[in-house]
């Protein structure tokens, strides 16, 4: 019997390292418990709060019109890779292995309807040169740092830091830290951009392992068509000329926020910025998007609660 116990423990000892492994594969459902409005219905038209942007980024963002997405030639464009966490979707993650060695060649993050697959190359291949092609997915290499997969992405096309036109350039890069805590996945993105950001921008999200999430690895086909009558034909690109954006003061009117805060900048993300808001008085009552924390469940983004969940100020309006 003693030999049996010894043998069993020997087997267990050999098996123990598996407990220390970190497998990222699976369907990870987004829990939109942060930035729900930005990720779901969409951000305010001019809301650059907490973004470390420079004057050039601000000028481009103010020139942006959401209607630009309705141009047929822009409808099927993908967001940049940082949309993995800035966007509303969950993540499907899987590994591709070398059939001969069994070693992982890449970890992969699946596509969304408007974002390409991101491959995180684990085989030590170098990044392309500074003038090489930019793609929607960019080029990403990864390695383990303790229990975190650290991925570094370069060579992606210019995109949006926020879905209201705040830009990132094709010189931007992103370091992604992916850490698994049991059935929860935490993803931190650190985005740097010498063209449009004065400091790195940090954004993190949590996901829950959910085998029933049914995410797809590849994007759905996109077929562009003219959505707005005024955009049929050629020659018009929706935009606002400098000083003409009609939404600059919208958040000031809606939330009493000073426009200096709304227009962002690195100082708006630090605690000391509160001193600029000492006289701030919130609106008397929430009137818009007062509840909501996920995708629609039975037509409601805040199930089981009677609340203003949409933008019209009506209870449970969707």
């Amino acid at each position: 019997m003693a030999k049996t116990i010894l043998l069993v423990f020997s087997v267990l000892a050999v098996s123990v390292p598996a407990l220390a492994q970190i497998d990222l594969a699976g369907h990870w459902a987004a829990r939109q418990h942060e930035d729900w409005e930005e990720r779901g219905p969409g951000p305010e038209v001019v809301d650059y709060l907490g973004l470390p942007i420079n004057e050039d980024a601000r000028a481009r963002a103010l020139a942006y019109s959401t209607s630009a997405f309705s141009l047929p030639e822009r409808q099927c464009l993908y967001f940049a890779p940082h949309y993995n966490v800035i966007g509303p979707f969950g993540l499907e993650i899987w590994a591709d292995t070398d059939p001969n060695s069994g070693r992982i060649v890449s970890w992969n993050i699946g596509a969304f309807i408007d974002k390409a697959i991101n491959a995180i190359w684990m085989d030590g291949r170098p990044h392309p040169g500074p003038n090489d092609l930019r793609t929607f997915s960019g080029f990403t290499t990864g390695r383990w740092e303790g229990n975190t997969l650290v991925a570094y992405t370069t060579h992606y096309k210019e995109g949006y830091l926020r879905r209201n036109g705040v830009p990132t350039s094709d010189q931007a890069s992103m370091t992604t830290y992916i850490t698994r805590h049991g059935d929860m996945l935490t993803v931190l993105e650190v985005i740097e951009d010498p063209v449009y950001l004065t400091e790195p921008f940090l954004v993190s999200r949590n996901y829950q392992l959910d085998p029933a999430a049914n995410m797809t690895r590849v994007p759905a086909p996109c077929v562009p068509e003219a959505e707005l009558p005024e955009l049929k034909g050629e020659g018009r690109v929706p935009h606002y000329l400098p000083g003409r954006n009609p939404f600059v003061n919208e958040m000031t009117q809606r939330y009493n926020l000073p426009v200096e805060a709304v227009l962002g900048g690195a100082d708006t993300m630090y605690p000391e910025f509160k001193k600029n808001l000492d006289s701030y008085q919130p609106p008397a009552l929430c009137v818009r998007y007062c509840c909501g924390w996920g995708a629609m469940v039975a037509g409601r983004t805040a199930p089981n609660v009677d609340c203003i969940t949409g933008g019209s100020g009506k209870i449970n309006e969707q």
Binding site: T4, V8, V11, L12, S15, P17, A18, L19, A20, Q21, I22, Q32, H33, E34, D35, W36, L49, G50, I104, G124, R143, W144, E145, G146, N147, T148, T175, T179, H181, M184, T186, L188, V190, E192, P200, L202, V203, S204, N206, Q208, L257, T268, M269, Y270, P271, E272, F273, L277, P282, A284, L285, C286, V287, C290, C291, G292, G294, P303, N304, V305
Partner: protein, 260 residues
């Protein structure tokens, strides 16, 4: 031969774990003479000053949200009813102005942290905003006693697995590591300053992930799960971000305030 079925059973039980394995790693092992205190076994130096970066949920963290604004939090109808009756003046008058500064709410506030070792097995986390002190106890510490704003916190290091030979080495291994903190026995408080409640039975689980940046920065992400069946339909999961600062020159203590 009677051992064979047992061995097979053990192998089968272990197989799914092995199947998850994508790389080859080994568990962290300790030598008999290795120091055992939490401070000595810390995978990285977490002490110093950390500043919160308010890049997420700005309107709900940097300023007082409007009454009735509960966006992003999976509240119950009961939570909404209680929060709709929020009265900051009443809180101030009752000496309850720190309700939003309890453990389940304070980490999302704009603030700085001062992290130090109170003793070999207790990590002290002070906040300048609200002037609160959290004590994270390692080892066999047992809490209890009267509930408090910061509750009873039990901490453990989630040690990273040692990578096997041939795997790519960590780029900044000395800066990485995870601190797991579980907090109970909290006084009822607010998840947000506009009165969104958590109850005295709420449980707070945090994973403090320390990361090294490409330019020498040190980042901290505190993945947070608040469980409270009375006021939350599902666990509330958030992840406030921090950056290490070189010194305490921007440390700016201010007391709890209920009204702004």
């Amino acid at each position: 031969m009677r051992a064979a079925p047992l061995i097979v059973a053990v192998c089968v039980a272990a197989a799914p774990l092995a199947a998850q394995t994508r790389g080859a790693a080994q568990t962290q092992t300790q030598t008999p003479n290795a120091p055992r205190t939490a401070r000595a076994t810390a995978p990285t130096d977490v002490t110093g000053y950390w500043v919160s970066l308010i890049t997420e949920d700005w309107r709900w963290r940097m300023i007082m949200p409007a009454r009735g604004d509960y966006q992003s939090v999976p509240i119950t109808a009961e939570a909404k009813r209680v929060a709709d009756g929020w009265n900051p003046a009443k809180d101030e008058a009752a000496g309850e102005q720190c309700r939003a500064y309890g453990a389940a709410g304070i980490m999302r506030m704009p603030m700085r942290l001062r992290v130090s070792w109170a003793d070999e097995d207790t990590l002290k986390v002070e906040t300048d905003t609200g002037m609160q002190t959290r004590l994270l106890h390692f080892g066999a510490w047992k809490g209890g006693g009267r509930p408090s704003w910061q509750g009873d916190s039990v901490a453990t290091w989630d040690m990273p697995p040692r990578r096997a030979q041939g795997e790519q080495p960590a780029i900044t291994a000395s800066k990485s590591g995870t601190l797991k903190v579980v907090t109970n026995n909290m006084r009822p408080g607010y998840l947000r300053k506009n009165g969104l409640p958590y109850s005295g039975t709420a449980k707070l689980t945090e994973y403090w992930d320390f990361h090294g940046g490409r330019n020498g920065e040190h980042f901290l992400v505190v993945s947070t799960i608040v469980e409270d069946p009375q006021y939350l339909q599902t666990p509330w999961m958030t992840s406030p971000n921090f950056k290490r600062e070189p010194d305490g020159s921007k440390w700016d203590p201010s007391p709890c305030r209920a009204s702004r």
